[in-house]
Subunit: 323 residues, 4 copies
């Protein structure tokens, strides 16, 4: 039996954006992410706690997602991933990014472009340089969420092959899973899978210090006359119990500000089941979710170039609690 | 010229409720208002800062509002109000309530049942008895909001006859006022007037210590499976800049939890104008307002008994930013 | 009998500072006050809600306080103040400051330099320009606190001559008043008087939006390695029930960040008495107060130039709850 | 080479208390911990997120600590611990507690009574039953802190034998370690070791949802006239960056309320070094620490009964930043 690679946590995202200055205004000037490196065609950003860049914005003719990356424990885990890719016939190759010279990029069986790295250049954090924090104070990368027409299969693959652990899931009356939250690092999730036309990126999330900082994000966007960037929230999720806010960047990429979930380190942790139509699932307070939140997402780059082909889900229809 | 009565602040509301135990569960058990007095047919409630009861719930066959009351500076101000009523032909009489033996009830020219008192029995406050606070911690009465088909006329009467002062207003392109906020005590409002079929009570508001306590109200209602009580928010108003949440009690009476507006004591304070269709007016963050919030309200008791007859407004249509 | 002038609220302070760049770093870069005007020798600052400047920093060879100013309702109130000064033999003269062409400066009977103005140029506020807020977000001027060896006499003069109203006071077993809080605008105080060698300025206070913003002030100062600027707190006062933090500026002038006191508009509001040695008086949570907080203050400019002569108080000794 | 047991996280503490009703008043009525089980001689308490009891208060003639317990991954890890105890000659035995039928109690080489369990009866959590939360809302067990005269040796043993990982430490100019923070579950610590006469328990900590809830704990204790229970804080630690408050229970056991530290899951996480006399180490804001916090702690029960004998540390003297 193959060695299971030891994935530590979600590590970064690389977003294609079409107007780097508009993106800088949104992510840096308004949200306060810190620029660790920049060039004419890219910005490398991080939260106040991040010791490495966690979001790269790369200028491109069309918006989309280049890949989503995970940090693994060591070199051996990269080799285990290569072995897995070979065994399953998944396309893979070595790439590199700034500060991460050895990046294993592969395509998961569902078409999602993922990457893995064991080493990254670390920089002094800014967590205690509160005098340098700007905007609402995004703290650290938290998770990614992928829209998939095959949530159940994807869930099985990530839990069996990569040892992700399930914390919460949404099920309908027929026992079909519409969404799942899985983690590696002891929180609610590094990765969420939600049903829909895909695969696409649903959102990319940063941890916030507290709910007050999330309210401040709303105020700042309103002050800058950017209320259109606020798609959903603020509110408390039923799932994860986290306090949240969803934003859309200038290219439509969805960003979640997220805080205060719970610990999941116990080996006998029992996953929490939610019924698809429980109004408290999406927002514990019962607020309805806008349709755009269910229907829109970011395209993913295909391994060989171009965009991953989209497929509709067999699970059709929206939950009832939608605006 | 007649003496203008010196009104200090909004003082209390008397609500007719149809199930006192259901109301107690909502106001006392969940929202944490304090019971100052109670009988088989009434509850007298107050916030943690209130030194007197500020909300009376009175058991009745049908839900509605008995009256809204204001505190005046002294006996002479009650006499000035009687003189005003006589001069304008407004029906008036002396009534009494628990702790307020001399309550001048009159009907304003628009049908709203209002009452005035100069003296009230005071009780030690609970503000610093944090060990006794329950629920989210409602602090003190803040304001009332009346739906009216004659906002402009009502505004004129309250500012000219009772010396209320205008702080903010909503206007359409034709210069017609759809809503107005007026005060006596140096905050944004003791009384708000909003356009619609009326006169009816739109809502009754308590001041909260901070936005965190308003979020806690949502969590508590969700914990108790009472998410249906949450009608709108939480969010920040454009108008008043306050952080808010709107709830509906078991009889449908609307309660606002409200905090953090601004000072308006300067005599040359210039009222703030908002355009009817400015999306940041209702919620600074641009969130849409549910239709029920615009359309529903509580009936008012007529001076001679029964309910005040409702009249539609000539200003028809809802603002654009509605769900 | 003389007309009592109608004072609206505390209006501004003018501080002499010895290093304008050091002051700018503290007030503007770290605390986030907004520069409304500046010259080579002065900065005119305001909070996010202030529609006019509320703190002027004036470069001078020695640190001290030029004057503390109050806004009055109108021209007639300035005349009433002149009449009062004449009647009591208090020195007075007309001065002017930026935006306030007509400033009545007088010396109160205890030596404190006070000024009054009825008109001031107003500017658009920044309250809802959250995108422009910096630092912890100081909101508006709140109050001033004067150290006096004659608290009881000063209290009598301000309440009798200027109609300030008492809200709280500290008394010892012999019924001697050691401190008093008086207001004009319906909050806990525009002016506080505390016992000690004086007259001197004890502190100058800004209102904050909430306690979270006060914690952020601590974090920002710590991030900038300016922890020495934090003298006392954060904590909740027993007196006023406000959440507070005391800072010292580069010249030692003491600034309070203050939020969440209570309403005092009722004409029959009964002042709250605290015993001198009640440990919850200074900080409701019982924390001890550093000696510097009791002993140090800023010198006041004398009417004729130079500094007001200091006098020790007959009330000697510190409260017990001191570090 | 011996198998290293897989410790998941700190699991519980058992405290001897001398007045169960006084303890209940403190932990249940004021702090709002939930009673999961109770008998005439014991209370089993948990936070709102805990799915099992995390603090047992056991009535005893004298106050002290029976043991501190850790959750391990499985039965095999208990066996590995027995093997370790046998190999090192550490006294051990099987015990049981309510819900934890198989508890391995052993004495670590430094005299500390520790216990380990792999299974525990789980109960539905109360995290989303916000309507049932009381007091400030203690959320879950976070860590324990042991005072030791042999911090460096103890640190070596826990990291080498039990694979705890170092996150932060305090060092003097001679390179001697005065304190260390070690974890198993990806936060800053499950266990802290601080220099002093010991071994004793320094404190036992619960995670709080946010800093606002920690401020509320202060308010509640003040409201109940229990300010003597507040020993230190609130404030932000330099070490851990957490927001904190230290309390003393009726027997003097020290409880920390703690929130918002950071993630430490990266395998190449580099421990953070603090100089002993850095004033921002204890409290980022520079506040001084009371002597009692350095000098006082709870006695530990010896394996054979009675109390573990205390030994002074060779590292004498307090840090400079002490009241």
């Amino acid at each position: 039996m193959a060695t299971i690679p030891n994935i530590i946590r979600v590590g970064h995202g690389v977003f294609y954006v079409t107007d780097l200055e508009a993106s800088r205004r949104f992510y840096v000037d308004l949200l306060g992410l810190n620029v660790l490196h920049e060039s004419a065609s890219a910005l490398y950003l991080r939260g106040n706690e991040d010791r490495e860049w966690t979001l790269k914005l790369e200028l491109a003719p069309e918006a989309g997602i280049k890949h989503l990356a995970y940090r693994v424990a060591g070199e051996g885990d990269l080799e285990a991933l290569v072995a897995l890719a070979e065994a399953e016939g998944l396309p893979w190759r070595w790439e590199s990014e700034q500060d991460r010279p050895k990046l294993l990029r592969l395509q998961d069986p569902f078409g999602t472009p993922v990457a893995f790295y064991a080493e990254s250049v670390k920089y002094p954090w800014l967590l205690q340089r509160y005098d340098l924090h700007r905007g609402p104070g995004l703290q650290r990368i938290d998770h990614v969420n992928v829209i998939s027409p095959w949530v159940q299969d994807t869930l099985r693959w990530y839990t069996q092959r990569l040892a992700f652990r399930l914390t919460e899931y949404t099920e309908d009356d027929e026992g079909r899973i519409w969404a799942a939250w899985v983690h590696r690092r002891g929180g609610v999730h590094d990765l969420a899978l939600t049903n829909g036309t895909g695969p696409r990126l649903h959102h990319f999330a940063y941890w916030m210090p507290d709910s007050a900082s999330i309210l401040r994000a709303c105020d700042i966007l309103a002050g800058a006359m950017q209320t259109d960037a606020i798609e959903r929230g603020p509110g408390r999720h039923g799932i994860s119990n986290a306090f949240f806010l969803y934003l859309r960047d200038p290219d439509g990429h969805r960003i979640e500000l997220y805080t205060s979930d719970y610990l999941t380190v116990d080996p006998d942790f029992e996953p929490i089941r939610w019924h698809l139509n429980d109004p408290r699932r999406q927002t514990l307070w019962g607020a309805r979710t806008p349709k755009s939140w269910f229907l829109e997402g970011s395209r993913l780059e295909a391994f060989g170039g171009g965009w991953v082909e989209l497929q509709d889900s067999e699970l059709q229809g929206l939950p009832q609690h939608v605006i």
